[in-house]
């Protein structure tokens, strides 16, 4: 992998991808109406932390997952860094996870109540937040100036809130309710585009990973069975793959989405279920070659069962081309979802980049609705392709000659 890091594009791509991921994970800390820190006569409160696991605020499961990752990442990374000298990677990870789990269990133990609720207890009890939003703060400020101090995220707007008086506002215009600016304007429903872009990164990354993961799972199963078992199984599975390849994938996705639901998870599923044919082909070819290898015969002569030879002996030898294909697959899935949303078949309830693009298509005069999400889709796909190319170059055994 040293070779990967020497490639300038690949290095840039890897850092940029981490950037996209961090933006996605920490979106609520950048764009939210809820205060991160709130101090009044009752003491200190951290409403945003409580709000992270509030299913009312974050209705989609992938949001809760990203929030969990955002919360767990700093302690886990710190743990890994502190223990870096003493223990192997796997053990560090398991220690970190078990400490977090232990903390969670401890937080479940009821503590004696000294007149006011402990903040950490409240975090898990999902108690009502009380006063914590930007408008709460402005109201308190109007009555008793200086009594309440609060620290808000950079963009004090929610990604799923519609600001009634602010439909299709240009970038930089002011929200009359709060007095803060819409940095990237608003869309036709009155959403803050900047907040929606941040949360859209979560959707795009989830789609890429889930859809590609599903394709990989199916593709590897079918390709492995086809290449290793051979015979009639191969014959039948290869016809199946050919049938899949005959369909224009995007039209197939369109049809299925039009017939079923427009939920974002259905869309992920459909993209995943239609994208496995190429992977199955690739895996079959690799397995065909490795099935004749001496180490496979040696494993057979030890009485290793067939499924174990396929997935524990041959699969690790085939991972390199799979990883490369998966990287490009993620880019393809992100693009497919954007394209679906763009033609109006995306999830209307999810904050997606494609959804913003579609509004830009309908309201062609409002350029920020095209440039902002368009550039984001372009950037993410470029970054993924840079990583894929870098991996391909770095892992190519013939690159030295």
């Amino acid at each position: 992998m040293a070779r990967f890091w020497r490639l300038r594009g690949a290095k840039f791509g890897a850092y940029a991808f981490v950037g996209f991921f961090l933006i996605g994970a920490y979106a609520p800390f950048i764009a939210s109406e809820t205060a991160m820190v709130w101090h009044d006569q009752n003491g200190w409160r951290f409403p945003l932390l409580i709000d992270l696991f509030n299913a009312w605020t974050y209705a989609k499961p992938h949001d809760l997952l990203f929030n969990l990752v955002a919360l767990l990442m700093p302690p886990l990374l710190l743990m890994g860094w502190l223990l870096r000298r003493r223990w192997a990677y796997g053990r560090r990870l398991s220690i970190g996870v078990s400490i977090v789990v232990a903390a969670w269990i401890l937080a479940q133990i009821p503590l004696p109540n000294h007149g006011r609720t402990g903040e950490w207890r409240a975090l898990w009890d999902k108690r009502q937040l009380g006063q914590s939003t930007f408008s709460d703060w402005r109201a308190a400020e109007a009555v008793t100036p200086g009594r309440v101090s609060a620290w808000f995220p950079l963009i004090p707007h929610r990604h799923d809130a519609t600001y009634a008086g602010a439909v299709l506002n240009a970038p930089g215009s002011i929200n009359r309710d709060t007095g803060r600016r819409f940095v990237l304007g608003t869309d036709s429903a009155g959403h803050d585009v900047a907040a929606r872009m941040l949360f859209g990164a979560r959707v795009s990354l989830t789609i890429g990973l889930v859809a590609t993961g599903l394709s990989l799972l199916i593709g590897v199963m079918i390709g492995a069975a086809s290449g290793y078992l051979g015979g009639k199984i191969d014959l039948v599975l290869q016809r199946l793959v050919e049938i899949m390849m005959c369909f224009p994938t995007f039209i197939l996705i369109l049809t299925v989405v039009a017939m079923t639901s427009r939920d974002i998870f259905i869309i992920m599923l459909v993209i995943g279920l239609t994208g496995w044919a190429d992977i199955a082909r690739l895996v079959r070819g690799e397995f065909l070659g490795h099935a004749q290898a001496d180490y496979v015969a040696a494993a057979q002569s030890l009485g290793v069962p067939r499924w174990r030879i396929m997935f524990r002996h041959i699969l690790p030898n085939v991972l390199t081309p799979l990883i490369i294909t998966a990287t490009f697959g993620i880019a393809g899935a992100v693009f497919s979802e954007s394209a679906l949303s763009f033609i109006g078949l995306g999830d209307p309830n999810a904050a997606t980049w494609g959804g913003l693009l579609e509004q830009g298509r309908q309201n062609i005069r409002y350029a920020w609705l095209i440039y902002v999400p368009g550039l984001a889709v372009f950037a993410l796909i470029t970054v993924l392709n840079l990583i894929g190319n870098g991996l391909r170059e770095a892992l190519d055994p013939k690159a030295d000659f």
């Binding site: 040696a298 057979q300 002569s301 030890l302 290793v304």
Partner: protein, 290 residues
């Protein structure tokens, strides 16, 4: 060592192996009969394409079926059942017990017979995992012990190394420890020294001989190297064109070959102190013009 009163361990009874190709069927082994007795070293000797490797592979049913098929004969295994089980009619489950558990196999090419993505220790431990009840810690201890037995220095370090970090001779030792991990009654060695250089060859043969004596296991040794045969074998089976040509104790075969082919094969070896322009080939002998 061959004792006619004892029961054989593995009996090749008129074994026939063919390969069904698209338009024709090729007979690779045309009725091979011989027996391997417990604790005996049998060398299966023959030129390339004589069917010796195919016979050995079929003893573990390692040939891919199809194209391979067994039109006739039996392969009787007496390792567990005194009545003998026909390996050619074993079900997959019993076959997996047989492979590795009762019959071990070493391959020709130690460079490719180990999985490059697994550590050496893990590959040996897998055999133990499949055939014994040992837990992970006990398996590790057993692998270290096995590595010691096959003469791998610093076994506790080698166990976590990958095959590419070891030399050819060391890798063949790992392969041997893999085949021997579950104390099989029969070891099939398919040209285990062909890919190694001469000094390592001698070491590996000495090792196999020592292990065979210590454990009292039978060995089916496949080779085309008559020098190796003389060193290790008790009995020799000679094959040509898929048929057995001659069979007998090793001393007798070398001293008093009966068949023209055997005589030819023995005469083909270069001799110390005898200078000849061209060594005779087997075909010369078979044609009777040498």
């Amino acid at each position: 060592m061959s004792d006619t009163t004892t029961q054989p361990l593995l009996h090749f009874d008129n074994l026939q192996v063919s390969f069904r190709l698209r338009d024709r069927t090729v007979a690779a082994v045309k009725g091979l009969s011989f027996a391997i007795n417990p604790g005996e070293v049998v060398a299966l000797v023959g030129e390339s394409g004589s069917g010796k490797s195919v016979s050995a592979m079929s003893a573990l049913r390692l040939l891919q079926e199809p194209p391979a098929c067994y039109p006739g004969g039996k392969l009787l295994w007496y390792g567990r059942d005194a009545g003998g089980e026909d390996i050619l009619h074993m079900d997959a489950r019993r076959l997996r017990q047989l492979r590795g558990g009762e019959i071990g196999m070493i391959f020709q090419e130690p460079m490719t017979a180990l999985n490059p993505t697994w550590t050496c220790g893990a590959q040996v431990a897998e055999a133990l995992e499949l055939h014994t009840d040992l837990n992970a810690t006990a398996r590790r201890a057993r692998v270290i012990e096995l590595f010691q037995q096959v003469g791998i220095p610093q076994p506790a370090n080698r166990i976590d190394q990958y095959p590419h970090e070891l030399s050819g001779g060391m890798r063949q030792r790992v392969c041997i420890s893999m085949a021997l991990a579950c104390a099989p009654q029969l070891l099939i060695a398919d040209e285990p020294t062909t890919a190694l250089d001469v000094t390592i060859q001698a070491q590996i043969i000495a090792l196999l001989r020592a292990l065979q004596r210590d454990r009292g296991m039978a060995v089916l040794f496949i080779t085309h190297d008559l020098g190796v045969v003389a060193e290790i074998a008790d009995r020799v089976v000679l094959m040509r064109h898929g048929e057995k040509v001659e069979e007998g104790p090793v001393a007798e075969i070398f001293a008093n070959p009966q068949h023209a082919y055997t005589k030819g094969l023995l005469a083909c070896r270069p001799r110390l102190g005898v200078r000849r322009d061209r060594l005779p080939t087997v075909d010369d002998f078979m044609a009777g013009n040498a």
